[in-house]
């Protein structure tokens, strides 16, 4: 076997080629670079981080909190004492906004992450077992999709769930109800994606090598739907925040004394004329929150999509290059 042990010159040439040129770029580097190239997405990420920071440390900048009533300033516009004014009851709007943002982000993140997790487990199980298991689980899923989520939320958070209401804070209750109704779409997507992955040659190769199915699912399927999961988390967070705002707006989500952006917006709708700041401030924060996530999502999709055309323009790069050359010269 002497001649076979000799290293193939093709491979050597290839190696030299790979090593000399900066061809090998780590995948994470490429994803990160692509994300950074999308200026909108970077701005979105920045806004989101600032808002999160604000919701945690914003409370330290004001002596007021969401429960203390200031009897001397009732329904006052923004002033030095109350940065964003006060409500009709004399509660500092700034304090309430900080609290509301935190609750909204909390609900969004928890619901977004956990629902994707449930969806991944459920979807992969369906694809893995197939057959009758798949049929039954799919039926459950379809049934949940068809259930009127709005009514269930209304019942759970107001009339019917009296016992629950006593034991749990309203935001936790809302999280649970939102979770039950938010994972189905993703689960179906993951099911179909894993099913198509099962048809891929590398899965077949593993099967023909006699690798047990469980290991195929864990080692081949789950990592390959990873990028989809990340995208779905950001989308899920947006959806959960919007759902919370919507439910609270129509009065069936978060209940006072808990505050959320939805509660603030809902409470202020009738007073847009008289106390405009009560309406516009939480609305702006909500826009910033969901808008930043939407902006990020676009960039993430571009970054993860291998067929993305996010490589910049030839002309720009050339100009940059010549500029750099001029600088060095």
């Amino acid at each position: 076997m002497t001649n076979l042990n000799a290293v193939d010159p093709a491979a050597v040439a290839q190696d030299a080629h790979l090593e000399s040129a900066d061809v090998v770029i780590g995948k994470s580097t490429i994803i990160f670079r692509r994300f950074l190239r999308n200026k909108t997405a970077v701005a979105g990420l920045a806004i989101f981080l600032v808002l999160t920071l604000f919701s945690f440390i914003g409370g330290f900048f004001t002596p007021w909190d969401k429960e203390t009533i200031d009897p001397f300033n009732i329904g006052m516009p923004p002033s030095a004492e109350h940065f964003l004014g006060t409500s009709q009851a004399g509660i500092d709007l700034y304090a309430m906004t900080v609290e509301g943002t935190r609750i909204s982000i909390l609900i969004g993140l928890v619901v977004g992450l956990v629902s994707v997790l449930i969806a991944a487990v459920y979807g992969c199980t369906m694809a893995y077992f197939g057959g009758n298991v798949d049929k039954v689980m799919l039926f459950v899923l379809e049934a949940l999709i068809m259930m009127p989520a709005l009514l269930v939320v209304a019942v759970a958070t107001s009339g019917g769930g009296a016992g629950l209401k006593r034991d749990l804070p309203s935001w936790l209750l809302l999280i649970i109800v939102l979770l039950v109704f938010s994972w189905m779409g993703t689960a179906r997507l993951i099911r179909s994606m894993s099913m198509s992955l099962m048809q891929r040659d590398f899965v077949k190769a593993a099967q023909y090598m006699g690798v047990p199915p469980r290991r195929i699912v864990w080692r081949h399927l789950v990592p390959n739907i990873g990028s989809l999961l990340i995208l779905d988390i950001t989308r899920g967070v947006t959806a959960a925040i919007l759902a919370e705002v919507a439910f609270s707006f129509i009065g069936i989500g978060i209940k006072v004394p808990d505050v959320s952006l939805g509660v603030l917006i809902g409470g202020a709708t009738s007073q847009v004329q008289t106390f405009p700041w009560m309406f516009w401030v939480p609305l702006t924060v909500m826009f910033l929150l969901t808008g930043s996530l939407a902006m990020m999502n676009d960039g993430l999709r571009d970054a993860f999509d291998p067929s993305s055309s996010s490589t910049g323009e030839a002309r720009q790069a050339k100009i940059r290059k010549t500029r750099a050359e001029k600088k060095t010269a």
Partner: protein
């Protein structure tokens, strides 16, 4: 952007480019398309890629220019630049003149005047180039409407029918209302050609028009392109990586490498008198279907250069066996070979090369490996795999709620063969003939299968428990067609190779050792094990796939189209590797391929399948040199050969139509619907073909040969299933191109 301003901006003044540009102003007056100094740049993650670097070409009316090169050599980008179809992020400079009018720099809207009218294009993938929601008639009429708004509805419809008839679509009037999904791939490509020639284009660009098609269909489509060119008098640019395809069609050839033309000339000059080592390599890398002699293929080592940096020397020098220091000193310009003529090459050694230099000497092709089994007669070798009457039938049902069985698809219908140690057995046939299903049946290895599969003495009938299966998996491994899809993109090479070994229960140290051995065995650097598959080239990925299959030391390797996704030059390297491994490790192969040249090169025995049945089986040289079954004859005659003279005079059997749907399969001989012999038979004999199924019969030596041997001679290792193998062929299906016709002005 006019050509003057851009040439100023091309940066460092390259004298030859300047010279060519000036020469371009004096392009032949009768050229329908002249391209001068075409440059295309793209941005990538690593910087600006200079994809096309100074292409010059002149296209005469009615002539065919073949552009040949590896993938990434800039062929397609050149054609897209001419059509103005490149994304706006690309930077295009130079000059493209259609009948004297400059096309570069025109707005997209202005280009629409030309596209589909005077410039037309046929794309590679016919499955995705037609809109599925419109009938083909609508799509042809759309092409007419855009450029002839004044044409009446009736006239357009008549023209559409005429076009469909011209590209050989039966009953064109009815098919006008058919949707693309009702057509097969070959038919759709015909429709694409019909759309392209709808407005009598002056230039027709065909970008790998037959790559996605079967050989028999490829022959049909090439024929249609030929007719289309004759009808319209258009100049054709044929882009391909297959030197065989252009040999019969092209008048001139341009070989591209690293974004630059490296050799141009008349087709005979290029094929018989190549003056650039790259062209010689490309020609030597193609296996020939018409040559029995066994010699190693010529692999062109290495990879095309990175076009991020401007090469300082000849761009081919790193891969060129003849490279010397002088080659690294400046990139050679395209210069005329003999001081006059049109044949020019970009090589400083072109004078020393020519038709009489053997490419095997230049490229140091490895010697033909000899297996230790080659000396042993076939009958004495042990059987590795045996199939006995294996069948796979799928029920065909209709109805949403209650499924009615309306028929059976006989994907595999009673296939039997055996493979001995150290042997390569191939199955060939069009897609849909049941080759891959046969493979899957073997890989499945299940007790409930119809028919018996015996792998290394283990039968699927006797024991199909997990233990036997695990033992079977160690005897039999598979290499997949698409090297990219067969490797998990998230696994390093180490993990890929470790998977079968872990599964076989080896410990870590042993796995490590074995992986290093495997990497060396398939000619990869052992220290590359920590890389991901996407950091390797296609050929190297296929080597990883082969290493994975060899990990558990199988006796039999199943190869499913192992090289069809690779470039010719890379393909040659992989075929040589497979040949080596077979000899060194005493492996047996079961190869499925549609490329008969590859099959002839690598196999010992071959089976031709048609609609789930083996129609001819036997020793590869016997079957290929003396094909008895009409289908084998048709398949062989459809393969283009990289030999222009032979290709021009060769008699071809062009099978009519596509593979019939299994539902319409006749009762008797499957092939009767398309058979050229059947079509010429008198009705009495036709009856026999239609009612009886021909059995597989051995080819017996003729009586004369028997008498000569003076003893009962063993029948040859060749069996076929046809009643009238010697019948005359139907004239309609025979096509011969007169040499004069092809060169008529």
């Amino acid at each position: 952007m006019s050509s003057e301003t851009t040439t100023g901006a091309t940066g460092p003044a390259r004298p030859e480019v300047e010279r060519l540009h000036v020469a371009g102003l004096h392009a032949p007056a009768d050229a329908v398309l002249s391209v001068r100094d075409l440059n295309v740049r793209f941005n990538s993650e690593n910087g600006v890629v200079h994809a096309v670097r100074g292409v010059d070409l002149d296209l005469m009316p009615g002539k065919t220019l073949g552009i040949v090169g590896e993938s990434g050599s800039g062929k397609s980008v050149t054609s897209l630049a001419i059509m103005g179809l490149l994304p706006s992020t690309a930077e295009v400079s130079g000059s493209v003149r259609l009948k004297g009018r400059e096309l570069l720099g025109l707005s997209d809207k202005a280009m629409c005047e030309y596209r589909g009218n005077e410039l037309a294009m046929v794309f590679q993938d016919p499955l995705s180039s037609l809109t599925p929601v419109f009938t083909v008639g609508t799509q042809i009429i759309e092409a007419l409407t855009i450029h002839h708004p004044a044409m009446s509805r009736k006239a357009k419809e008549a023209r559409a029918v005429e076009l469909l008839a011209m590209v050989g679509i039966p009953s064109p009037k009815d098919r006008l209302r058919a949707f693309p999904h009702e057509f097969s791939g070959g038919m759709r490509q015909r429709v694409m050609i019909a759309i392209a020639i709808a407005n009598n284009p002056r230039v027709l660009i065909a970008d790998e028009p037959t790559t996605a098609l079967d050989v028999t269909i490829q022959a049909q489509v090439l024929e249609v392109l030929h007719t289309a060119q004759e009808e319209t008098g258009a100049a054709v640019v044929m882009i391909t990586h297959d030197l065989g395809v252009v040999a019969g069609m092209a008048d001139d050839i341009m070989v591209m490498y690293a974004g630059k033309p490296v050799e141009t000339g008349a087709v005979d000059d290029i094929y018989y008198d190549p003056r650039m080592p790259y062209t010689m390599g490309l020609l030597g890398a193609v296996p020939r279907v018409d040559v029995a002699e066994k010699s190693s293929l010529v692999p062109i080592e290495g990879m095309p250069p990175n076009l991020l940096n401007t090469p300082t020397g000849c761009s081919f020098a790193p891969r060129c066996p003849l490279a010397s220091d002088a080659c690294l000193d400046g990139e050679p310009a395209l210069a005329s070979v003999d001081g006059q003529g049109l044949h020019s090459a970009a090589c400083i050694k072109s004078d020393a090369l020519g038709g009489d230099v053997d490419v095997h000497d230049v490229f140091a092709a490895p010697p033909v490996p000899v297996s230790r089994f080659d000396a042993v007669p076939r009958a004495e070798r042990t059987t590795v795999l045996q199939l006995k009457d294996v069948k796979k039938h799928f029920p065909l049902t209709r109805g949403a709620l209650i499924k009615r069985r309306i028929g059976t698809v006989k994907a595999v219908d009673g296939v039997s063969f055996d493979i001995r140690e150290g042997e390569c057995f191939s199955i060939v046939g069009e897609s849909g003939s049941g080759k891959t299903t046969t493979l899957l049946e073997i890989m499945e290895f299940h007790q409930d299968q119809d028919g018996e599969v015996v792998i290394g003495g283990l039968s699927n009938k006797q024991a199909a428990d997990a233990k036997t299966k695990a033992r079977m998996r160690r005897e039999l491994q598979m290499v997949f067609q698409d090297p990219t899809g067969a490797l998990d993109p998230r696994f390093t090479v180490y993990e890929v190779l470790a998977e079968p070994l872990q599964n076989a229960g080896m410990d870590r140290a042993a796995i490590r050792k074995r992986i290093m051995e495997l990497m060396k065995l398939v000619g990869l650097q052992p220290d590359h094990v920590n890389r991901f598959p996407n950091q390797f080239s296609g050929g190297q990925r296929q080597r990883i796939g082969i290493a994975r299959a060899l990990a558990v030391n199988p006796k039999l390797v199943v190869l499913d189209e192992p090289v069809s996704a690779l470039d010719v030059s890379v393909q040659a390297g992989v075929i040589n590797l497979l040949d080596h491994l077979r000899a060194e490790l005493g492996l047996s192969y079961l190869l499925v391929a549609h490329d008969l040249s590859v099959v002839r090169h690598i196999s010992n025995r071959v089976a031709v399948m048609y609609l789930g049945k083996i129609v001819e089986i036997g020793e590869v040289d016997r079957v290929f040199d003396n094909p008895r079954h009409p289908y084998t004859r048709a398949l062989l005659s459809a393969i283009p050969v990289p030999d222009p003279r032979l290709e021009r005079t060769r008699e071809r059997i062009i099978l009519q139509g596509d593979l019939p749907s299994p539902l319409q399969a006749p009762k008797g001989c499957n092939f009767a619907t398309r058979c050229p012999v059947f079509a010429a038979l008198p009705p009495a004999k036709q009856e026999k073909c239609l009612s009886l199924e021909p059995p597989l019969e051995s080819v017996r030596p003729s009586a004369a040969a028997q008498a000569l041997q003076n003893a009962p001679v063993h029948p040859y290792d060749q069996r076929f299933a046809c009643f009238f193998p010697d019948g005359a062929l139907d004239e309609d299906m025979l096509v011969v191109h007169e040499p004069a016709e092809n060169h008529a002005p």
